[in-house]
Amino acid sequence: MRAVRRISVFLAVVLLVGLGAGGGATQEKPRYGGVLTWFDYGDPGRLDVAGIWSGLLHWDPDDPAKITGDLAERWRASPDGKTYTFELRKGVKWHDGQPFSAADVKATFDRILNPEFKSPKCGASLKPMVASLEVLDRYTVRFRLKAPVVSFLGAIASAWCRVAAKHVLEKYGDLDRPEAQIGTGPFKFKRYERGNLIEWEKNRDYFVPGLPYLDGVKQYILVGAPTQLAAAKVGRVMLWDTWPPMRKTQVAELARARGNEIDTYQWPVNAIYAIYMNVHKPPFSNPDLRRAVNLAVDRQELVEKALEGAGVPCAILDPKLVGDFALPFEEVAKIAGCRQPKDQDIAEAKRLVEKHYPNGIDVEFAVRAVGNYLDRAQLLVGQLTRIGIRGTIKSYESAAGYAAFGKGDFTLIATQDRGMNSTDPGDVFHLVYTTEAGSNYARWSDPKVDDLAARALRESNRERRKQLYWELQRHILSDAPGAVAVGWVEGWFFRDKRVINYKPAKTAYDNNTFMKVSLRE
């Protein structure tokens, strides 16, 4: 009897240990195989798909707050901080079998840094920083900066600064077409069906041994919030980690439908929500009219209604992402245009409009028909009607909208989110507000902004840098800018619990290579 009891206890202990170990193993151990499904909100303007490319550096998939090597094995800065040398991995192959070398890095960044080449993300960040790039040997490159810049590595690690193949660029000129989708990343381009999906397949020659775990990734093109939500509710997409984020009502609906099969979370998108006015076209060529709009826009209402509260109104910088580089809320809340109640600012805005247009003015509000931009545009029409600017909405398909905005073919863009490259406080100014900013659709040029942004970029003393950014924010919020900062965008996302080891990055798209992601059975 005692023997039976001993055996029973022994078996129970073995069972418990086994179960514990097994449970731990299923939590941690990645599994090979499976296809991850997610989506994009529209056909891409360019086919440079995340998982296909690698960067010199990237934000660590295991710790998205940390920069780590990708194609670069090691890197070092010179003592004066003006040069950065990158030693590249050897034996890396492009998806077409060609060897990767420093010549590819040079071809990529020479193209991006070319003043004639439009690169609204990577180029906009790097052009103010980088003077030149040289190849030291087959596996070493050196960037010479115009001045020491603390944010250089963050910019290089951005998902927008991936490395392309020299021979592909020479052959096709750009990366737009399917044949040009040749990277060194964990996945290879498989197919693109316009309006339907982009499919990637596992790169079996990926330079990180053992990765990726997934057999492939399917990125559906899902236009319209009801379609996106329906796909999430039936489990057709496993991940919502893309712009536009879900709204509170949507996430509640999804949670009811999927219960404990998913994790939902609120997360900053690292994007600014802006309204652009074309400063080269009447009426917004007149600073008084821009000032009027800047005063009249009720940011709090827009964030509350259009983002269902998931955002930081009036923020040019989000303190959650850049800490005290953001102008303190207490000060922002007192600035004309941002302060509440709005009566005084609306009266002043109305006076400014009446001064030039006693009977008010009709203006076309351009907007890309993506996300909830049409809702935002409608709210703006209502707000500006109060000061005599009567808006009619003209909606564009996503890519057509970008094309029109890029050519300056608009009077006012009712809403446009601009995602940052990194969490550096300088990004927003070099992407939206400086004369050469990649997304300066308004074509606004203010010497004070250019000067402050350039000085802040080169400033190594943190406190002085902070003061420069504060001054920039004060100036933009209270002047007559080409782009009115409505606020900083946040939102809700979800992850299917089958997806293992996916950690969202602080900047959209930074962790979308899925190199370490795997799927449970």
């Binding site: 009801p226 609906e253 909405i393």
Partner: protein, 282 residues
């Protein structure tokens, strides 16, 4: 006045469903005409709390942007009626004239014109309307134009068939025999005899035009986004179908009732004007 009341009573007795339809249409027309007085708030006034459920203050609730749904449904009646009436009057009139004239003259011109009608009728209506809107751009007038183009071929085909039989009638032969010109015959003898069919086409197609406009707006290619179109309201409601079912319920009801009313009236008019269906003559 007494005569009108008597006619209405008579209509109600002979076409009870038609009378119900007429009552619905009368409410729709009154709502559209008196929208500024009836709507408690502006249709674009986004000043209330979003997603408020129906209550005494907001009988139809508020939408996702904090607009009063009742006001938007009321103003939506005006938009729907405008689009329905104007597009149908244009489309059916121009299409009808096209059919009558080409049918009357016949020959190669008629043949060519019928092939164009074939082509237009072969295209699925909503695809044709979507393509036209994509090409023309989003505005109320372009919705009207797209719908008119959509409706013209059916009117042309229907009224041409009538014109073919009318032109063989003895009274047309008599008119020609006394020296009337072709155009005089068309204007004075053929067109008046297509009037009943024309009126039926008008009434039936208004409902159709309203549904197509709502469909286009639902798909984001109809009325401009801020206009209170019932279709666009349905689209917004579809995005919060669980959180705020009133957002799609009321515009959906408005569309259904309007189409029901117009179809009932159209059927009644058809019955009254068709000798085979008219009571007492069969």
């Amino acid at each position: 006045m007494r005569a009108l009341a008597s006619s209405l009573r008579c209509f109600g007795a002979r076409q009870p469903l038609g009378a119900v339809g007429a009552a619905i249409v009368a409410v729709l027309v009154a709502t559209a005409v008196f929208a500024p007085a009836l709507a408690p708030h502006g249709p674009k006034e986004a000043v209330f709390t979003p997603y408020l459920a129906p209550s005494p203050e907001f009988p139809f609730g508020t939408d996702h942007l904090g607009r009063d749904q009742l006001s938007r449904v009321i103003w939506g009646a005006r938009l729907s009626l405008y689009v329905g009436l104007v597009s149908v009057v244009f489309g059916v009139t121009l299409g009808g004239l096209w059919g009558v004239v080409t049918g009357y003259f016949g020959g190669a011109g008629d043949n060519a014109s019928q092939r164009i009608v074939d082509v237009l009728m072969a295209l699925p209506p909503i695809i044709l309307a979507l393509s036209l809107m994509a090409a023309l751009g989003q505005s109320m007038n372009n919705v009207v134009l797209a719908l008119a183009i959509l409706l013209a071929p059916t009117a042309a085909r229907t009224l041409r068939a009538l014109a073919l039989s009318i032109k063989e009638s003895p009274f047309v032969e008599a008119a020609r025999a006394v020296g009337c010109s072709h155009w005089r015959v068309i204007v004075l003898h053929v067109l008046p005899n297509t009037l009943a069919a024309y009126i039926v086409l008008l009434t039936v197609n208004i409902a159709y035009a309203i549904v197509v406009e709502a469909s286009l707006s639902f798909l984001g290619l109809g009325a401009p986004p801020d206009e209170p179109s019932w279709g666009a309201m349905l689209n917004a409601g579809a995005q919060a179908i669980e959180a705020a079912p009133w957002m799609f319920l009321f515009p959906g009801l408005a569309i259904s009732l309007t189409v029901l009313g117009l179809n009932l009236v159209g059927d009644a008019i058809r019955d009254l004007t068709d000798p085979r269906l008219r009571g007492g003559l069969g």
